[in-house]
């Protein structure tokens, strides 16, 4: 992890080497004794946040309906993760929950967890410390307390937006689909489809099928699996196909 200064604003930012967030999340899952297996690849994200992360978790927070989750950093207090009450109620408590709703809840929880892991150091842990970085934060009312809000659109557009949100989405994918296990299950699925020798093209029916299967296995959205495949460079580009 390094810092750099954005040319346009002069703001200091965090920069991670390719694969660094993946490695970090794998270490955290192992430290928490929650690294999933091929037989049971679903990360127990609630347990990870509740017991490992050292935060206050509020799963029934009265947040605005457009806000799925929020992470708060306040001096002298543990970071606080809030999950929208309405989301938890429909995604976890209802009987016969739709899988996509449960995935959304899990992804929100993992997204907020990653803010804590990656961005906790951006804020002073008590009043006597200065902020390590100058952070523009719309939610800060007094210059000391800071909150990240995860909106519906943040999860839907993981490659865009505020750099911290982009990093949190990468971390979310790395937490819920740990790289080593993801590659194992991806390969197994490719072999099962008897297509391991053929390049996988983005948007192809094969890609869609494999994303659906892996999404079900990891209990995440199909879209997030497609992004994961892309970020791990598992899609062939059209030029490669023509050469083959």
């Amino acid at each position: 992890m390094k810092t750099y200064r954005a040319r346009a604003t002069g703001e200091l930012r965090l920069w991670f080497k390719p694969g660094e967030i993946d490695d970090w999340m794998e270490v955290e899952l192992r430290k928490a004794n929650l690294y999933p297996t091929a037989d049971d690849p679903v990360v127990d994200i609630e347990r990870f946040v509740d017991r490992h992360l050292g935060v206050d978790l509020e799963q029934y927070a009265p947040l605005k309906c457009t806000v799925l989750g929020e992470t708060r950093f306040e001096p002298g207090k543990k970071p606080k993760i809030l999950i929208n009450k309405s989301l938890t109620e429909i995604a976890v408590d209802e009987e016969d929950v739709e899988p996509w709703l449960r995935s959304k809840w899990r992804m929100t929880m993992a997204h907020e967890a990653t803010h804590v892991l990656l961005h906790r150091g951006l804020y002073p842990s008590d009043d006597s410390q200065q902020m390590l970085f100058s952070v523009e934060d719309d939610n800060s009312s007094d210059g000391q307390n800071h909150a990240y809000q995860c909106l519906e659109k943040s999860l839907d557009a993981p490659g865009r937006g505020d750099w911290r949100e982009v990093q949190a989405n990468k971390g979310m994918a790395a937490l819920l689909m740990p790289k080593s296990l993801f590659l194992v299950l991806y390969q197994a699925e490719r072999e099962r489809m008897a297509a391991d020798s053929k390049p996988l093209l983005k948007g192809s029916p094969e890609a869609s099928r494999i994303a659906k299967t892996l999404g079900r296995l990891f209990d995440v959205s199909v879209q997030s699996v497609e992004i994961r495949i892309q970020e791990l460079n598992l899609f062939a580009n059209p030029g490669q196909v023509q050469l083959l």
Partner: protein, 123 residues
């Protein structure tokens, strides 16, 4: 004797004790309350009824009297006692007006425990 120095709120005390023992939903099920209600308790949005507080104390190995104090409740028995003995209410108001420190309160509590012992544990 209750630890009057503990500055944690009721919700914080319960959450800290509950977290190592299980998830919010598991514990809510044991208490026979909804996870949403337990979450409100842990975040100090609602104060549980005395019987719920007693079950929480039993399951988490917490001091019931301390939880009641944090909840700002005297309890049904204490309420009845205060109605029967108005002097008890006067005593409490005097304590409150005097704004005694924790150490002084601990001394008074010890004295009360000694008196209760002499009377054979009578309430």
């Amino acid at each position: 004797m209750a630890n009057t120095r503990n500055a944690k709120t009721l919700g914080e005390t319960i959450r800290e004790a509950r977290t190592p023992k299980g998830s919010l939903r598991e514990f809510a099920k044991k208490l026979d309350i909804t996870p949403s209600y337990l979450s409100d308790i842990e975040n100090d949005r609602r104060v549980p009824a005395e019987d719920v507080l007693r079950r929480i104390a039993d399951l988490l190995g917490l001091d019931f009297d301390e939880l009641m104090a944090k909840a700002g409740r005297f309890g049904e028995d204490a309420d009845r006692y205060m109605r029967r003995h108005p002097t008890a209410g006067v005593l409490f108001r005097q304590l409150s007006d005097s704004n005694l420190a924790d150490d002084d309160l601990a001394k008074l509590l010890k004295k009360a425990e000694e008196l209760a012992k002499k009377r054979g544990g009578q309430k």
